[in-house]
Amino acid sequence: MIITHTGQHLELLSEAAVFLKEHSTLILADVHLGKAATFRAHGIAVPDGDSAYDLHRITQLLLKTQAQQLVIAGDFLHSPEGTFPELTEWLAHCPAHVSLVIGNHDQRTLPRLSLDLKTLPSLVMGNLEIIHDPAEASANHFSICGHIHPVIHIKDSQRTSIRSACFHLRENVLTLPSFGTFTGGQVIQPQPNDRFFIPLNDRVVEIPQRQCIFRKK
């Protein structure tokens, strides 16, 4: 689904990412690589598999979109304990140029690793900025961010509802769903003029606001 906002054409992908054709840029957020490994380091027996799978999903998306640039809107890595050896290898073979907008999790983790990775506090492309935390969005840009892991409850009949990760557009801020497989979500309380988009089968659809209900976990 393509939405147009302040002159920017954004293609929302069902894989929980945004593609900017004009800039040949793929944007995604909150991968949390090494989360399961962090658990294991704390004596909690969670199996591995997600991190490798998530990297594989990113590669697939880059091949599909032919993007030349990949921007991660923060929280690429989960924690200092969750080391992930395959990452260096993956970065070396990545078909696109990778930039990481530093998220709160990255901040603690990056100093421990020496990765061949361009990192920056925010990234500006014309009137568009990519940041991690929507709370830090500047008023004169259209911002794409992560951090929140937005989720909505959608009313699908009188008495039933479905929970789904979503793209959340509020005023000038688009918050992306979390990309990582082993990540949870936070229910968004809809405000007037909010727009919600969810991945559904192979496409992204907009959910009318009256179908969204606020329900705490």
């Binding site: 989360k35 399961a36 490994a37 962090t38 658990f39 294991r40 380091a41 704390h42 004596g43 909690i44 027996a45 969670v46 199996p47 591995d48 598999g49 997600d50 989960h78 924690s79 304990e81 969750g82 080391t83 999790h105 959608i154 699908d156 009949s157 008495r159 039933t160 479905i162 789904s164 497989t181 082993f182 990540t183 949870g184 969810i198 559904l200 089968n201 659809v205 009318p208 179908q211 705490k216 976990k217």
Partner: protein, 807 residues
């Protein structure tokens, strides 16, 4: 019989005479035996077991060192227990210390008990587990004579019970000669309850009954007319005036309700009727602050109170002798529970327990009549023990390895001496060992995991942080997220569920503990409130987990009542017109036929089927039937259940042909179908929450201070997905499925029910409107769950219909 002169001064001082069962218990204890003592509340069970060790101390004059561990299921009971254990000591001139160590103890007390233990230590299963992680515990217990498990009927059948079994196994391993004594209410399976408690040591154990059964008198408060009496619901405030009349005699009354919300509602209603009773009415439920509850209990003991409105929070524990009558609001749910509650009154020897039942809907009249039948026939519920829950096992294994390094072989021997794990097989044992040492399957999927390590042939934990984490997460109780309530002055009121309080806007009024409160702010799991004017309208909190199923025995008794259809009790006479309507509009169902009613209301199609098999079985059966219907059709079906039956609702037509129903109810492929439909119903995922918590995958109650492990927070349902994808053979997933089958859906009972159902004739009945039996199920539809069609299909459908509507 031996001479019990040592303890007789205590009885003489009070002018009492020991009951035969007390003497029997003392004798058995003196002979070095273990045993289970079962009797109704208030007959002196505590004295019976306590005076055994006391008599020995009197004779030997050995008062130092810990001789007795007293395990109580509720830490709130520990102080009462302490008082009643101390009571005889003065008369007997015995100077021994009775101490308490629970989660409520101060840091000072905790530190003190880690060094030296009192003669008798009162503690909970969780605190006992915690003790096992301290390396000097064994040393401090040297000389232990007995472990006494109070209110065993509350623990058996729960994971806390299994935790207790495991702790006992460790204590017996250390001190093979200790005596184990259980105190229990009478159960349908007393012998099994004893076997579970004793584990492999049960050969010499005795079972002693104090059931010189007190007489129980049950009367129902009858509505003056049935015309306006509701067919469903569970508030029942229509009968407030009649109940208030019962309270006019100024004698102490306990008014039991089934939920905390109901307690609040009834308290308000009674107060509105009799504002002048303001200081004579009190409330008692589990969310009120402990201080508040202590005050109420104190006044009960003094007899200075007219009525206490309470929940099961007053089901347990020591006695309040002055209680003269007990009132039960709403369904009794179970026979044992009703007897227990009735037993709260009439304490004088030879006294009669008086219980008044107050129906909150018409069908509860039948339940009361049925409960009386069952009590007469002594059909009391059994509490079935849990079989080898692996989450409890892995938690316990880590616990004991911290306290005292042990070889795998010795550990296994110890574990299998318990009843719960007597049949633990090799693959299960290997899995548990791998889970605590390498995380999961060797060489696959669990790199970097560390917890229990092997050192000099023994399993142990060395990492201080991991030890700390384990101590914080011991226990098997999974609680809902609670927010504490305090006044601006800092005075505590109690706690409410986060779900409730988060929906109350700041400045709004709600009712708690009988008080009208205005919400000032919520911060850090703490809600600050101030008093609101009494006239302000406010919401009453709803607490989760308040729906209990009707017991098997009681459901059966209800079906019997309907089948007999005799107007031989006041309750049955009164409900006769409603049963007549049921018969006129449809049929009166019972447990020797299957009645399926179908009704269409506002483009929705409803099917109602009555089994009288209890809520849990109906939930399983409803899900199964909906799933089977969906194997042929593609419908969205909502399932509602209660104790009598279940209903299916759909916007499309549901099958109403007898041969199709025979197929739907078939027991062929029952287990496979049930497992398949469970996956779609997501029951296993829900169940995984508790398993993840107990096995240590999800951390609870982490201290906020310091760089705590905030990186390891996740939800159980996300973990469930990760396990399903990358380690689908993990036995914890298997356990989630098994727990759903055994506990939640009561697979055994479901199978028996279905085997029985297929032999019954089927009556398919088209109805023009909802019958009295159908109405409660229809009214409960807000609690429905859904079966069939995955989320994507449902969303596509919704979007299509929105588009159509827009055109």
């Amino acid at each position: 019989m031996a001479n019990f002169s040592a303890v007789s001064p205590f009885f003489k001082a009070r002018g009492w005479k020991p009951f035969p069962f007390q003497k029997e218990t003392w004798q058995a204890y003196r002979d070095g035996k273990s045993g289970l003592l079962h009797a109704p509340t208030g007959l002196g069970k505590t004295l019976a077991v306590w005076l055994g060790p006391v008599a020995e101390a009197l004779e030997s004059q050995e008062t130092q060192g810990c001789k007795v561990l007293w395990i109580t299921p509720l830490r709130a009971l520990s102080q009462d227990t302490q008082k009643s254990l101390q009571e005889p000591l003065e008369d007997l001139g015995l100077k021994i210390e009775v101490g308490i160590r629970t989660g409520d103890s101060t840091a000072y007390q905790k530190a003190k008990f880690n060094k030296k233990l009192p003669f008798c230590l009162i503690t909970t299963p969780e605190s006992l587990s915690l003790f096992l992680t301290h390396e000097n515990f064994r040393e401090n217990l040297a000389g232990l004579d007995a472990v006494i498990i109070d209110e065993w009927h509350e623990l058996i059948g729960t994971k806390r019970g299994v935790q207790t079994e495991l702790c006992l196994a460790r204590l017996r391993q250390w001190f093979p000669k200790i005596r184990t004594w259980g105190l229990s209410a009478t159960l349908g399976n007393t012998k099994e309850a004893s076997e579970v408690l004793m584990g492999k040591n049960d050969k010499d154990a005795v079972i002693i009954s104090g059931a010189a059964v007190k007489k129980v008198q049950i009367k129902t408060i009858l509505p003056k007319s049935m015309d306006r009496f509701p067919w469903s619901g569970h508030i029942g405030t229509q009968l407030v005036p009649q109940v208030a009349k019962l309270l006019e005699k100024k004698e102490t009354t306990l008014l039991f309700t089934n939920t905390r919300s109901q307690t609040e509602i009834w308290f308000q209603e009674l107060l509105e009727h009799h504002p002048e009773w303001k200081d004579e009415l009190a409330m008692h439920h589990g969310s009120l602050d402990r201080e508040e509850r202590n005050l109420v209990e104190e006044r009960l003991r003094e007899g200075s109170i007219r009525c206490v409105v309470c929940t099961s929070s007053l089901d347990l524990g020591v006695d309040f002798s002055p209680v003269s009558q007990v009132i039960q609001i709403g369904s009794p749910k179970g026979i044992a529970r009703l007897i227990q509650r009735a037993g709260r009154s009439g304490h004088q020897p030879g006294g009669t327990s008086k219980l008044y039942c107050v129906p909150s809907n018409a069908f509860e009249l039948v339940e009361f009549a049925a409960a009386r039948d069952a009590i007469l026939e002594k059909k009391i519920e059994a509490r079935l023990p849990l079989q080898k829950p692996l989450d409890v096992l892995v938690q316990h294994l880590v616990t004991v390895c911290i306290g005292e390094p042990t070889s795998a072989q010795d550990l296994r021997h110890e574990i299998q001496s318990t009843y719960a794990y007597r049949n633990l097989d090799e693959p299960e044992w290997q899995w548990a060992l791998e889970f605590i040492t390498i995380g999961g399957k060797a060489l696959a999927n669990y790199p970097g995991f560390k917890k229990v390590i092997e050192k000099d042939g023994k399993l142990t934990v060395e990492d201080k942080k991991l030890i700390q984490l384990q101590r914080l997460s011991i226990g098997t109780i999974v609680s809902h997220s609670n927010v504490s309530l305090t006044y601006q002055s800092g005075r505590k009121l109690g706690s409410v569920e986060e779900r409730f309080i988060s929906r109350i806007p700041v400045g709004s009024v709600f009712i708690f503990g009988g008080k009208h409160l205005e919400l000032v702010r919520i911060r850090n799991q703490k809600a600050t409130v101030k008093n609101a004017s009494k006239t302000a309208k406010g919401k009453i909190p709803v607490w989760a987990g308040s729906r209990m199923p009707l017991s098997n025995e009681l459901s059966h008794a209800v079906a019997q009542r309907l089948k007999a259809d005799a107007q031989d009790t006041p309750e049955m006479k009164l409900i006769a017109p409603i049963l007549e309507i049921q018969r006129a509009w449809s049929l009166l169902p019972h447990d020797e036929m299957i009645l399926i009613e179908y009704v269409s209301i506002r483009e929705e199609h409803h099917l109602f089927l009555y089994t009288f098999a209890g809520r849990l079985v109906n939930e399983g059966l409803g899900s199964l039937i909906a799933w089977r219907i969906n194997q042929k059709a593609d419908l969205l079906i909502q399932i509602t259940m209660n104790d009598y039956g279940f209903s299916l609702t759909s916007n499309d037509h549901l099958p109403v042909e007898e041969d199709i129903w025979r197929e739907l109810l078939s027991t062929d492929r029952l287990l496979d179908d049930l497992i398949a439909c469970m996956n779609t119903a997501e029951l296993a995922r829900r169940q995984f929450r508790e398993i993840a918590r107990v096995s240590g995958l999800v951390l609870q109650q982490l201290p906020k201070r310091g760089g705590g492990p905030r990186d390891v927070q996740t939800s159980a349902s996300l973990l469930y997905e990760v396990f399903s994808r990358y380690d689908s053979d993990n036995l914890l997933l298997e356990q989630a499925r098994r727990e759903i089958l055994d506990n939640q859906l009561e697979f055994t009972r479901l199978k028996i029910t279905m085997n029985d159902l297929i032999t019954r004739p089927i009556h398919l009945q088209r109805c023009d409107r909802l019958t009295p039996m159908a109405f409660p199920l229809w009214a409960d539809r807000l609690q429905a769950h859904t079966q069939g069609q995955d989320a994507a299909t449902r969303l596509e459908k919704m979007l299509t219909s929105l588009e159509n509507a827009a055109e």
